[in-house]
């Protein structure tokens, strides 16, 4: 597969401020690729650079192998879906969708035919004569997608288009977006700060922080094998134990933290390599809340520690148990709501366990602030 969109050392700066710093990515044809990061991490800046609304101050953007420098947004094979959708409020739904055909001088009948085809694609058949404001939020979303697809772009760029929808609709639209992408088979580049969105829809995710790429990989690898403390804490929930290496045995390391000695595995560095550590290195060990179990649960574990219960929070399918080790280290443990937590009263010391396979050790670095 050839790279459809390639960013080569792309930087975008505003004065002294770098909104994006030295970003290199190869996005393959037909891929659903997401840029994930907190607001202000530079992901929208990158999207605007790809669409042609701003120019990179450094580096190249290639689409289909062609350098896009000096080519305006109306000449690029990309189509952008704006965060607020930017539908034209004074035009009918069909006119919105066929606007790009109107621009190219297509006749009325042809425009109508194409609009109807696209309306069918996004499951809005028969709604072409309505005004935009007569549609619901989800329907508008689909009109925006249809309008963007009307120019038959090679790459569809989406700037957090689901952020204005409520939770249920957002979840439904995720599935729909993914289905539409499979049907049309073009590259989707999706921008979001919502890791749930990125994880459910994407083939690959690029996690960004402060203008720089932290990690590129499949949803699984970003979640299961974070390369940096930022990724470990931004994607999903994580417990971070600060400690030092007390012993190294191949990929497995011993970490001494808050009076305990834990066995854990060295984190990935990317490209198949692992972080290497030596004795007394300062590290952070990450264990996800769903990988920590109460001692009497039926799960394999080779690390056991004691912590005092602070609160138990009911979250529907899960219960979150908040604990503390010697008032120094907060620990969060998520268990299925089938687990009996009746006897977990406040300040009670309980034994917890986790497997060394679920504990990832990374060098000290900034966490995602929440």
């Amino acid at each position: 597969m050839s790279a459809d969109v390639e960013l080569q050392n792309v930087s975008v700066s505003f004065g002294n401020f770098y909104a994006a710093k030295n970003v290199s990515v190869k996005i393959e044809k037909g891929e659903f690729f997401s840029f994930l990061g907190p607001s202000g991490c530079g992901k929208t800046t990158l999207l605007r650079a790809i669409s042609g609304f701003s120019d990179p101050s450094d580096g190249n953007i290639l689409i289909g192998g062609q350098n896009m420098a000096g080519i305006g947004p109306n000449k690029r094979p990309t189509s952008l879906i704006f965060q607020n959708l930017a539908l034209f409020p004074l035009m009918s739904v069909a006119d919105n969708i066929a606007f790009s055909l109107e621009v190219r001088g297509s006749g009325k009948a042809e425009r109508r035919k194409r609009a109807d085809e696209l309306l069918e694609l996004v499951a809005l058949s028969g709604q072409g004569d309505k005004k935009v404001h007569e549609l619901s939020g989800g329907q508008r979303q689909r009109v925006a997608i249809a309008r963007a697809l009307a120019i038959e772009p090679e790459v569809l760029l989406l700037d957090e288009p689901l952020s204005a929808l409520d939770l249920k609709l957002r979840q439904k639209m995720r599935t729909e977006l993914r289905e539409i992408q499979k049907r049309v088979g073009i590259t989707f580049i999706y921008i979001t700060h919502d890791q749930g969105e990125a994880l459910t829809m994407s083939d690959r995710i690029a996690v960004m922080n402060q203008g720089e790429l932290e990690q590129i990989g499949s949803c699984n690898s970003v979640y299961e094998a974070p390369n940096t403390p930022f990724v470990a804490t931004f994607v999903g929930e994580n417990n971070a134990f600060y400690g030092t290496i007390s012993a190294v045995d191949g990929d497995m390391v011993n970490v001494s933290a808050i009076g305990n000695n834990f066995l854990a595995k060295a984190g990935d560095l990317g490209e198949g390599r692992k972080h290497t550590f030596k004795k007394n290195d300062e590290v952070i060990m990450f264990v996800r809340p769903e990988s920590i179990f109460l001692k009497d649960q039926n799960n394999q574990a080779d690390n056991i520690f004691t912590a005092a219960v602070k609160t138990v929070e009911f979250e529907g399918n899960l219960k979150n148990i908040y604990l503390s080790i010697n008032e120094k280290q907060d620990v969060r443990c998520s268990v299925s709501n089938a687990v009996d937590t009746m006897d977990l009263s406040n300040s009670k010391n309980v034994e917890l366990k986790f497997s060394s396979r679920d504990a990832i050790v990374l060098p000290v670095g900034p966490l995602a602030v929440d």
Binding site: S51, F53, G72, P73, N74, K75, T78, S79, L80, F82, Q83, N84, A86, L87, F88, L90, M91, F99, S100, E102, V103, R104, R147, A150, I151
Partner: protein
């Protein structure tokens, strides 16, 4: 009404009602009704008013249409000519004004940075601190036979002898265009300011040229502002007096100058009133007609 009082409190409500009521009744309705009434009365000395000769008559409107009974013409070609000339010129000036102001308003509203926009707005307003008469005379100096523009053109060798801008009414049109420019720019600016910039980018992204984006997206969005600006400029241009007095050529006559003559020089207030009413009603009918054609509602204009 109760709601209004509850919302604003008795003091503010009373103040608002009285002040707005005063404004509408004493400053607008009563004088205009008086004018309307006057326009139907004969021009007789004050002593005879209320006497047997003081009866409602259409004589002044007849005069506007058919001229004085002693003239041999079947219609009052002179006055009607001046009237049509004034209306048509006002329409033309309104259109020129719109074409001239739209790019400026768009630039200030959507292109310029906030600081530049503020600077531009201020520099548009400041010249209007100078009063209208003075501005008109300044233009007269600029356009005069031996004025600044002619001198420069002659020095540059573009022309040999001065162009008579005043006689060609170039000075008048320039002056009228300039006089009400703010009343066009600000409604346009207000309307354009509310346009979401993403709309422009979306259109561009879909391949639209700048001109098409303006005709399909921007102008429809700004329609109410355009209507508001055009209405004000048209009304004020058709009713302008100072600028035409100073800048028109000796053989161009603005309809307001006629009205002024009836009131002041000929001391015939009823006829002046009748001519005013003709100007007012034709202007209003024209504006309403335009609004109907371009499908603008009166509520949108003041939005």
């Amino acid at each position: 009404m109760n709601y209004f009082f509850n919302k604003n409190g008795p003091l503010i409500s009373t103040y608002l009602l009285i002040s707005i009521g005063f404004w509408i009744v004493f400053l607008i309705v009563i004088p205009q009704l008086y004018m309307l009434d006057l326009s139907f009365r004969p021009n007789i000395p004050p002593l005879l008013r209320g006497g047997p000769d003081d009866v409602y008559t259409l004589v002044h409107y007849k005069h506007f249409l058919f001229g004085s009974e002693t003239s041999g013409e079947s219609y009052n070609y002179v006055d009607i000519g001046v009237f049509l000339d004034t209306i048509l010129t006002a329409i033309l000036i309104t259109l020129i004004n719109l074409c001239f102001c739209y790019p400026i308003a768009f630039y200030i509203a959507k292109v310029a940075s906030p600081n530049t926009a503020r600077l531009l707005i201020v520099s548009l307003i400041i010249p209007f601190w100078i009063n209208e008469l003075l501005r008109s005379f300044a233009l007269r100096i600029l356009f005069a036979g031996e004025g600044f523009i002619n001198n420069v053109l002659i020095k540059l060798g573009v022309i040999d002898t001065g162009i008579n801008f005043i006689a060609m009414d170039v000075a008048l049109y320039t002056g009228l265009n300039y006089a009400y420019i703010l009343l066009m720019i600000f409604p346009l600016y207000n309307a354009l300011e509310t346009l979401d910039k993403n709309q422009l980018e979306a259109a561009e992204d879909l391949g639209s040229s700048m001109i098409r984006t303006h005709f399909r997206i921007v102008i429809p969005h700004a329609k109410a502002g355009i209507a508001s600006g055009c209405t004000m400029v048209f009304m004020l241009t058709a009713g302008a007096l100072a600028t035409p007095v100073v800048l028109s050529s000796p053989n161009t006559f603005w309809f307001t100058q006629l009205i002024y003559q009836w009131f002041n020089m000929n001391d015939n207030w009823p006829r002046g009133a009748a001519y005013s009413i003709v100007l007012l009603s034709v202007s209003v009918v024209f504006v309403l007609l335009m609004m109907r054609i371009f499908k603008v509602k009166i509520g949108e204009i003041v939005r």
